[in-house]
Amino acid sequence: MKKRTKGLMLFLVVMSIFGLVACGPKGESTKDTPPNTQQKETNEEKENNSSDGVEKPSKIHIMVDGSFMLPEAGQDDIVKKYKELTGIDLEITQPAHNQYYERVNLVFATGDAPDALALDIANMYKYGSNGALYDLKPLYDQSEVLRSLDANAIEAMLLDGKLYGMPKGDGNGSVTYIRKDWLDQLGLEVPTTYDEFLNMLRGFKTLGNEIIPYTSPGIIYDEYPTYIYNRFFFHDAIPEFIPVNGEWVDGMLEPEMIPALERLRDAFTEGLIDKEIITNKTSTCRDKMTSGMAGVFNYWAGQWGKTLDDNLKATDPTGEVVAMPAIKETSYIERVGFGLSVTNASKNPEGVFKYLLEFMYDKSEGQMLFTHGVEGIHYEMKNGELFKMPSKANATQAAGQVFLLTELNLNNFDDHFKIDERIVDSRTKLKQSVQVGIPVPPSAVLDKYGADVQILRKEMLVDIVYGRVSIEDGLERYKEQSKDKVAKILEELNK
């Protein structure tokens, strides 16, 4: 019996070696080849290729999140049309929306990275600074097509002079949505100062026992920009690492944080802020708003300006949600948006740049395809105006967008599509007073300790807002607990 066991063990080991051989090199080769060699290869290939010297890829593999048109809505039609227009096979990998970045980590770790993929700025910086993404700056500088994009948006994406992705559109920001009908009912004007804002919340509170005047998914948010919500209470305080006069500091410990915490605590104690602010998800808040429970909610400008209002009207036809401009004490925060990055795993980055990125922003059929889809399937033209056709997934709805959004368009492309006024309105209100949230530059130290510091911040904020601890004690405790980690992060940032 012993012998048999030994034999089996041997077999096991052999199998495992086979397994490692089968998987190992494949993963390594893409990872370990320095980007330069790949570029050289393509340079050599260049000579025996088309007039402008860029080889046309036969296939482009992209990875996108749920913001790309879903298969049931007609993703195949996009791929087919793309092939027709460019002759290139477009392979789309679209993981579940909520697990997108977990999946991104996995494909990079296992050497399965696609040619191009959608990334938010934090991940773009992370992967870019670690050498996984292709620097598009030289190509961008020479590109007539892409230089027509809003230069500010490109500028905001640069990391140490390198461009690791082309912006998908304007980064957009969060505005404050309010119940206009309640405001009218109370005979109030749209508030312009913090006092008027508080006054409005107090008014909302009088409208019913179950009414939550102000709801929000957390006091600070988990993703960049962490301080995008609750600006009307924070004013100029920023609960995140911020550069002050060229030096990075922990905004949590800046003097302006103390009055901000007072405002949050007082409003909470007065019952103006949602008691469930900690456990709320963005979807819970949306539900509270659209089911008529909540009066004020910070959320993305643009499409949501329409959707929130529509959804409220579905439950309460007399209701009305509108975006309001920032109060004078503060401004809205805009983020540096998503981008489409080309990876170093791509065999032909120039080709991807030319045939995908430039094509997508060509102000013509390419941009049309990636904005509205295919004529006759997703949209139709009538008297020079673009109308959405019924969605393939659900005939009772209009077809959605493909990848780019008209209202966040960066090159003034006229697609003859009339955007809903509420979408335009919320965007206008955002742009009236807005500043860009500065992404914290990536580093291994930040990866390691950032999440812990974030948790300490949240614990402190909640304890203070809920009145379990005084502002001084709470800040003192946070300072004590986060000291080492914050010091390491700041040291790295200020290097």
């Binding site: 429970m293 579905a314 959004l405």
Partner: protein, 285 residues
């Protein structure tokens, strides 16, 4: 067996209290579920306990039935659950059948070999690499195979098998049946209750599986209903599906109801086995 019992007063009081107790349990179990059901049929605002829809509407169910993005995952779920359960039961039965061969040389090794996997596992990245190496990524096998190797259920199955009287095996051997014939002709027919209950264990696991789908499959058309449900229940600022007119809460609740519906149909068939139970247990003791 209970007919012949003497009926004391205490016994009767106990029966009453027992029934009351279970009525309370029923209420505690049913209210949350009924609330979901009611909210799925209600497009109006609801606060607190409200078990009767104020604004009755079937629109959420209509949306699920007409939206291919919602009903296709449902079929994926049904397919993997049926097929996966079959595979998993087959694997569990074979293993259990081998494990009850007490005299088989190497049995102890097999026991350890199997148990070891219950405790140690490779984690996400190595599993991904192996699945990729065997070309299983992006196929439903990547979901079915890992879930089928459930040691816990194998042991349960083995314990059921052990209760089959040995005399049956002996007489079958004398009749010249091969072990495989014994397996098909004696073990499986006698294990219907075990197959029913463990089969249901597997079915529930397959139905509710989520993680392996999102990690090992990228083709959205192969996602199951649970992945979709999660998307609906948990947020997703998914702009592509933003023009859902029905209010989201109604949709969420309807999706939850749809997700348990199949079990409401299947369950009565399996319940028969739980109730008849494994009567041969006593023969051996």
């Amino acid at each position: 067996m209970k007919k012949g019992r003497k009926e004391g007063i205490g016994s009767q009081i106990f029966d009453m209290v027992n029934i009351l107790f279970f009525i309370l349990i029923l209420i505690a179990m049913l209210i949350p579920i009924l609330k979901v059901l009611s909210d799925s049929l209600d497009t109006s605002v609801t606060h607190g306990i409200n078990l009767i829809p104020k604004n009755f509407s079937l629109i959420a169910y209509k949306t699920i039935l007409t939206n291919s993005g919602l009903y296709r995952p449902f079929f994926v779920s049904i397919y993997t659950t049926l097929f996966g359960t079959f595979i998993a039961l087959f694997i569990s039965c074979i293993t259990a059948y081998v494990l009850i061969q007490k005299e088989m040389p190497g049995r102890n090794f097999i026991v350890k070999f199997v148990m070891f996997t219950m405790i140690f596992n490779g984690g996400l990245v190595p599993t991904y690499l192996v699945l990729r190496g065997f070309k299983l990524l992006n196929t439903l096998w990547a979901v079915i195979l890992p879930l089928s190797l459930n040691v816990y259920n194998m042991i349960l199955m083995k314990n059921f098998f052990e209760q089959i009287p040995e005399s049956l095996f002996e007489s079958a051997n004398l009749d010249g049946c091969t072990p495989f014939q014994v397996f098909i002709k004696i073990v499986l027919p006698l294990s219907k209750p075990a197959l029913g209950s463990i089969g249901l264990f597997f079915a529930v696991a397959f139905w509710n599986e989520f993680f392996t789908y999102v990690m090992y499959i990228t083709n959205t058309s192969k996602y199951n209903f649970q992945v979709k449900l999660r998307e609906l229940v948990l947020d997703s600022t998914n702009m592509a599906s933003d023009n859902v007119i029905v209010n989201l809460k109604t949709m969420q609740n309807a999706a939850i109801v749809v997700a348990i519906l199949p079990f409401m149909f299947v369950y009565p068939f399996c319940q028969k086995y739980f109730v008849t139970g494994i009567t041969m247990g006593a023969v051996k003791e």
